[in-house]
């Protein structure tokens, strides 16, 4: 291990500013369930030059990169960046990673780097209007792959994609859905595999340039943050605007372009995805959308907004008993609110929570729903209404 790279990590992440207060370990959701893991200790070890100990420690892979510690740190130590860089360094020496789902997601990404022509747009049915070229682009992300990989959980992540296109059509937009897009590569980056991440990033930026899109809409906050904030660090800035679907819908609702009808479900609660909330600062947009549905109640959950807890594992590594524990804590909090449905705005939260719900460990009454599904469903009833009007007229 070269000394230079340690110095670089310390400099880039402000680790030398650490005042050893322990705020990070106190707030870390992993430290609460796994006593052996401590962000403060890791930073301290790095500064004092015990990198070998971090290298041997398996717990470095159990960080969720949820950003709670970085947000609360009084000295502005960037622990997310710290994890990213030190994992990259550790991976050079040791590739024994505790991959979840048998590394299938990482493997698919690696195959995508080779530039094969994929068949990822086959989910688009006849009722969805999609154009070949235009200013709007909808970035599907890994949803077609999740549909296949998580079939055993009886969930359909592609519904999110279909509903997103439906919403865009309702707003008068016919988005481009590009077959040559690849995964954003964020998970590879946080597994320490920068090489393959860069390959994917280059393919995606090339795709964006060729499609001539000016606005890109996302349903996955992680893809959004990666394209908006991490790609420019590596490949330079672009003029393209990146937005989450909740931003678009909220604006449309405010302007009166889109009206949401009442739903059969009356009580909701909302899970802040780490990246959408702490990463991109979009706390109010999804909340406003839920509030704008008539006759509904948005119940506050314990620990929300900046303080929300992550849904469990991240970057498809080290899914352990500890992560299950975190999920059950979060689902218990959601249950306590008395809401019927827990809304999330991230496909990964959806997958992780439905995994926890499908287990036999504990029984929950609460159900899960993606925010795009909610919007599309409440919007749908409105459409029927207009249709009947037309018939009468």
């Amino acid at each position: 291990m070269a000394k230079n790279s340690i110095d670089e990590i310390i400099k880039k992440t402000n680790s030398y500013l650490c005042i050893d207060c322990g705020e990070c370990t106190g707030s870390c959701p992993v430290s609460r369930v796994n006593v052996n893991y401590s962000p403060r200790l890791n930073v301290e070890k790095m500064v004092l030059g015990y990198f070998d100990e971090i290298k041997k420690d398996e717990n470095i892979w159990s960080c969720l990169v949820c950003g709670l510690c970085s947000k609360r740190c009084p000295s502005d130590v960037k622990y997310d960046e710290f994890i990213k860089l030190s994992r990259k360094e550790i991976r050079k020496h040791n590739e024994k990673l505790n991959y979840s789902h048998n590394r299938i997601i990482q493997k698919s990404m690696e195959i995508m780097t080779q530039g094969n022509t994929q068949k990822r747009t086959e989910w688009i049915g006849k009722e969805l209007k999609v154009s070949k070229k235009g200013k709007f682009l909808y970035f599907t992300g890994c949803l077609p792959y999740f549909e296949v990989i998580f079939e055993y959980l009886n969930i359909h992540p592609l519904e999110t994609a279909g509903n997103a296109v439906k919403i865009l059509n309702k707003l008068g937009i016919e988005p481009v859905v590009n077959n040559s897009e690849v995964c954003c590569g964020r998970d590879l980056l946080f597994n320490g595999d920068e090489e393959n991440f860069l390959k994917l990033a280059k393919i995606n930026t090339k795709m964006l340039k060729e499609s001539g899109a000016e606005k890109v809409v996302f349903t996955c906050p992680e893809c959004l943050e990666t394209l908006k904030e991490i790609y420019p660090e590596y490949l330079g800035k672009t003029d393209v605007e990146f937005i989450h679907i909740t931003q678009l819908v909220e604006e449309a609702v405010k302007k009166g372009k889109l009206e949401l009808d009442s739903s059969s479900i009356k009580k909701f609660t909302y899970q802040d995805p780490c990246i959408l909330g702490r990463g991109l600062g979009l706390y109010d947009e999804p909340r406003n959308i839920i509030k704008s549905i008539p006759e509904t109640e948005l119940l506050p959950i314990e620990r929300e907004r900046e303080n929300s807890i992550c849904c469990g594992p991240s970057a498809w590594v080290s899914c352990t008993n500890y992560t299950k524990r975190i999920q059950h804590v979060r689902l218990g909090q959601a249950e306590k609110t008395g809401a019927e449905v827990l809304i999330t705005a991230c496909p990964k939260c959806y997958i992780h929570f439905s995994c926890a719900l499908s287990g036999d460990d504990e029984d929950y009454k609460i159900k899960l729903m993606d925010i795009t599904t909610l919007i599309a469903e409440t919007m749908k009833s409105k459409k029927k209404h207009t249709d009947s009007h037309r018939l009468e007229g």
């Binding site: 048998n102 493997k107 080779q114 994929q118």
Partner: protein, 162 residues
């Protein structure tokens, strides 16, 4: 500098030798097929095929696993991306699985892998799922022959397109 030169010589000599061997065996090129065979049935089936002297092309590379249920989609995709032309996953008949439900699990895994391959733009015909018991040496040989033929045809098709 001296060391480098000698190294270069050795590699050159090796290269020429390899080329000669390649030329000799050019006519007899077989596709590379990775076969995951379960310990209790299919591996014994392959053994029986050998003992009974059933003829089949030397394209199969057998990997013994304790149960076909151990196979994950990553194993198959790893094999295909690392240079194999085809993959056979073979286990016991459903009722005879040594671990009760291993073969059924393997069937599901193969199905998901095929879907993934379709998404990723790979040909699903490169993957095959077979049920071969310890007494079916003949079946093992026929599967080997058929699949080798299929894969060579696929290869020709691909090259013809190019």
């Amino acid at each position: 500098m001296k060391k480098k030169k000698t190294n270069a010589k050795i590699t050159k000599a090796k290269m020429t030798k390899a080329k000669k061997i390649k030329k000799k065996t050019k006519k007899l090129q077989y596709p590379k097929i990775i076969t995951f065979a379960c310990n209790w049935c299919s591996y014994a089936g392959a053994d029986l095929a050998g003992v009974s002297r059933f003829q089949y092309p030397p394209s199969l590379r057998l990997i013994r696993v304790m149960c076909a249920g151990r196979i994950t989609p990553t194993f198959i995709l790893d094999a295909l991306t690392d240079g194999a032309d085809g993959v056979i996953v073979s286990g016991c008949h459903f009722e005879d699985c040594h671990y009760i439900s291993g073969s059924r699990k393997a069937e599901k895994v193969v199905e998901t892998t095929r879907k993934l391959m379709h998404l990723l733009g790979m040909d699903g015909r490169r993957l095959r799922f077979e049920l071969i018991s310890a007494a079916e040496g003949q079946k093992f040989a026929t599967v080997a022959r058929e699949f080798t033929e299929e894969i060579t045809n696929l290869k020709k098709e691909k090259h013809g397109k190019k």
